[in-house]
Symmetry: C2
Subunit: 317 residues, 2 copies
Amino acid sequence: MANRDVSYFALGGGGFIGTNLCRRLAGRGGRVRAFSRHFAFPDAMAGVDLVTGDFRNHDALASAIEGFDIVYHLVHATPPQPANVDIGGDITNNVLPSLALFDICRRLGVKRIVFLSSGGTVYGRAAVVPTPETAPTEPIAAYGISKLMIEKYLVLHEHLHRMDYRVLRVTNPFGAFQTTIKNQGIIAALIARGLAGEPIEIWGDGSAVRDFIYVGDVIDALELASRDQSEFRIFNIGRGEGRNIREIAGTVERLLGRKLQIVWKDARAIDLPVSVVSNARAKEVLGWTPKTTLDEGLRQTIAWWQGRALSEDSSTR
Amino acid sequence: MANRDVSYFALGGGGFIGTNLCRRLAGRGGRVRAFSRHFAFPDAMAGVDLVTGDFRNHDALASAIEGFDIVYHLVHATPPQPANVDIGGDITNNVLPSLALFDICRRLGVKRIVFLSSGGTVYGRAAVVPTPETAPTEPIAAYGISKLMIEKYLVLHEHLHRMDYRVLRVTNPFGAFQTTIKNQGIIAALIARGLAGEPIEIWGDGSAVRDFIYVGDVIDALELASRDQSEFRIFNIGRGEGRNIREIAGTVERLLGRKLQIVWKDARAIDLPVSVVSNARAKEVLGWTPKTTLDEGLRQTIAWWQGRALSEDSSTR
């Protein structure tokens, strides 16, 4: 599927999506370099050239990118909740370095930038659900605003400098290599705490509906986006189906075969009641389709956590 | 029309719109303070408390704002063309200080922020003309993106902190106190150069269509926006009618009674072929209407320039 003559650079390649993407691309025999502040799973990235660095360091970034064709921009230094508290910091640490990245890519003749945006935050309280790419973008979280602005600056760079890009508005991804460190993935938290027999804190009453998508399907979309020749630039990537948090917790409980200890906390201002995207454009234009059912994705994720627990047990022996 | 019990603070009060607004508010007997880096016409601002300062200086800004009810945010430190060349600087000098302004207003209990946005850039190449507020916002200039970002952060501040605000997306304003210094107002340039018998450089072939609005009508809208109690937040302010640049030049020529020497230059990437907004919402909700015809507005603007030339002649005598 991947073209061996094309080289791939993954900014934020040490994170959840990045690790999965690099493994896929390297597995296809492509030239792949990952650039990240931190690599949580370096042993899992055989065949990937790992460069440790901060994307706010322009010189380091430029020398690492030189010679690569496709740049995946997967990094966002500020998680959603802290971004609302320090909005200026969110801009300084994410929007401004993204602009520097675009300058670098332009100077070095990068062929395409594929940007990981946020299907769960850029639309805000959408009037139409599942929400298409053409819906109004009214984020109610700073994280969504900065993602949206980076999208707008890509549009501008195409207009001013013929920069080639694609944007994937990914919903709520889950799967292997998603850890609980940044407290972002609710499925990772449910499984990790569930396996450990620990209580899980969840904001809200469990009625919030999300569009969970297995990471393998997201990686399919990232590969397709690097090659798309359509006139479209922005694609929603989600299953197009909502599940509420109680339902997800119940499914994890069933698959784990044990009762979860959930502590429900007050909902946060940034939490939307419903977030589900329409994936019709990605299906039609990219030829993408989410292949993994929620049950199957959850099973694979649980297997990954169980394998991890085993290997940690053996390594501490 | 203005409430004497309400106090008004105009950030960027020394500029074109600011000078006109402060004169109007002070003329109604209100308490008015203008804060600006520079006051081009201090003698024209009787009854207005003038504070010279930079809006990036948070402490100076906070002490100046303390005790005021309505804050007009009229400042944008970077003109459209330079913003595209230094996008990061545009964000640093405009978006980040706007966030600091919002924090200050929140801390000081400011009752409402009225933000001057840009009807001519936030929509980009609109599919629907005249363009309503609900149209997609796809700017093709950094200036429009940063204006849009500031709008989005106002939405967020209402959501997170119940901040009260209104946004006016004003098209192409013209009138008294618009100078040619920043090279922004094409009508000011046509009149000033025309009166001086100097050549005028215009980007493009003159076919670009713009929605010119007389500044007196914009000030009407700024007053109404400070009092609006509707559920709407964003209002287009324009005549809702387009004129191409050749037509405007021809009208100025006719009213001046002399031939203009126009030098047509290549169009710039940021120049849209057409920019005309729908003003239906402002008419219906604010009860606003543009009262000044283009001819009448141009006559008044020419009279202002002629008066200025006379007073400059006498002052150099």
